[in-house]
Amino acid sequence: MEKRRGVEFWVLAVFFALFVVFLYGPTLSIMVLSFQGPQGNLVFPMNGFSLHWFRELFRDQPIGDIHGAFGRSIRLALIVMGLTVLVSLLAGLAYRRHFIGSTALFYIAVASLIMPSIVISIGIGAGYELLGWTRTWYTSALGAHLTWTLPFGLLIMFAVFNRFNPALEEAARDLGATGWQSVRHVVLPIIAPSLIGVALFGFTLSFDELPRSSQVTGDVNTMPKELQALQTNTVTPVIYALGTLTTLVSFAVIGLSLAAVAVIRSRRR
């Protein structure tokens, strides 16, 4: 646009900066509060500065099962991540050709994305109840999470293959590559950064998922359910320590994904 920054730019830049503060401020404030002193309260001011509430977190809690929930959520997120990448990739490959039912399947995926989550949770819960099956985090909750992560995975694959140049694959075929070889040596390396993106969505959306999990984890909790329970029962900053820990896990996963994408991109140059 124009060479000099006009008034409009500065007004919008300030608006953007305020939005970023609004976006990150609350999370940062609970991160600070999680370092409250042992006598510290749920609100500011800081009453000393300590790791007391983190130590408290690793001690056995009078209520709930933080360690168990944390371990379950990490394992579940890893399984969901793997399945989301695999199933979305296969479906993405399928959608490059015509197949009967493709439009219906696409609309089902979109419907799964926008359906109020609690409806899916009630349905899966009621199904297991009627069949007399036990609900566990690695069966019913896994399924519930996949209904949330797979639509994102599929949409990302659409975006990827919409921009994919089919000539590259045709060239491989012309040089004698089999279907599998052209996927393995041509398609996969090209779309690798996007697959990392799908993995990021799979892990984080599962790790933080609450509404679809609500009726389907059985007797035990995932981390978000544990947090919800603590939120209503706890009056100490231990919940902030847990929030800080969970957020750090998310940041670590995001950082790893972005770094992996950057490494792949730089190798290509």
Partner: protein, 285 residues
């Protein structure tokens, strides 16, 4: 194409189709069936076909009040997420000049999406509460004589929470639409003497419509299905359909919850189908 290569897509799409069939299509149909079931305290699902749950739901004036209130939350969340999301996307698309800066600022806006909504919601409490940071600042600076009560456990707090969580769902698709606008189009308008506002009104907004529609679908779906934000930030004062359903589930009243869920789904679908007519999602990615 040989017969075997024609069957390949079916094998490739099968896992996705089977997962959706088992964990989405069947459960949703089941919710429909359960909404006609009977229930007792010791037996929470008794197969039956009666309209009792719907009669109870549709005869209660509380139901209509709750739906009206949910619609109000939805409308307010939409107005704020749209206006803020559009402004942010506009800044990123038309005022940030270099691509690396654009990517960096875009990431700054999207990273919170990959962190926990629960924690992001809870983290408003120490700021908005009676003893919270905002009230400390207001009272300390003399702007308010005593702590402001409506900051937390109010509709204000719920809307603030929605804007905080869901504005991203407006920014991403609107930014995507804006990046597809041919710069030559805007230049031509400028050369022909259009003002900044005219460019915005006659080019940018109409061409951003698909992004606005997708963002709107997301925000409506999220707000209609929410119960956590309403519960944590609205306290006992704010009613929503999602919260009512979760309360019923808490009492193990599955069939009434299912009936309520069916009505909620139909209302959400009606709203969204209307919007889908405006835009073909698949082409916009």
């Amino acid at each position: 194409m040989s017969l075997s290569s024609r069957t390949v897509p079916y094998f490739q799409a099968a896992p996705l189709a089977l997962i959706f069939l088992a964990f989405f299509v069947t459960p949703v149909l089941l919710v429909g069936a359960v909404s006609f079931f009977d229930y007792q305290t010791w037996d929470i699902l008794i197969p039956d076909f009666n309209f009792y749950n719907y009669e109870y739901l549709l005869e209660s004036s509380t139901t209509y009040r709750t739906y009206a209130n949910t619609a109000k939350l939805c409308a307010l969340a939409w107005v704020f997420t749209l206006s803020i999301g559009f402004t942010i996307a506009y800044f990123l698309a038309f005022h940030v000049r270099t691509v690396p800066t654009q990517i960096a600022l875009f990431l700054v806006c999207t990273i919170p999406f990959w962190t926990s909504n629960i924690i992001r919601t809870i983290s408003w409490i120490p700021l908005l509460g009676r003893e919270g940071l905002v009230n400390q600042a207001l009272v300390g600076s003399g702007l308010a004589a005593e702590p402001v009560e409506w900051l937390l456990y109010s509709e204000f707090a719920v809307i603030l929470g929605y804007v905080h969580l869901y504005t991203l769902f407006m920014i991403v698709p609107i930014f995507n639409s804006m990046m597809r606008i041919d710069p030559a189009l805007i230049e031509a308008a400028r050369d022909a003497g259009a003002s900044q506002w005219q460019v915005l009104w006659t080019i940018v907004i109409p061409l951003s419509r698909p992004g606005i529609a997708i963002g709107t679908i997301f925000v409506i779906a999220m707000v209609m299905g929410d119960y956590f934000t309403v519960d944590v930030l609205g306290g006992a004062k704010v009613a929503s359909v999602g919260k009512t359903i979760v309360n019923e589930l808490g009492y193990l009243q599955y069939p009434p919850a299912a009936a309520n869920a069916v009505v909620l789904t139909l209302v959400t679908i009606l709203l969204i189908v209307g919007l889908m007519r405006i835009v073909n999602i698949r082409k916009e990615l």
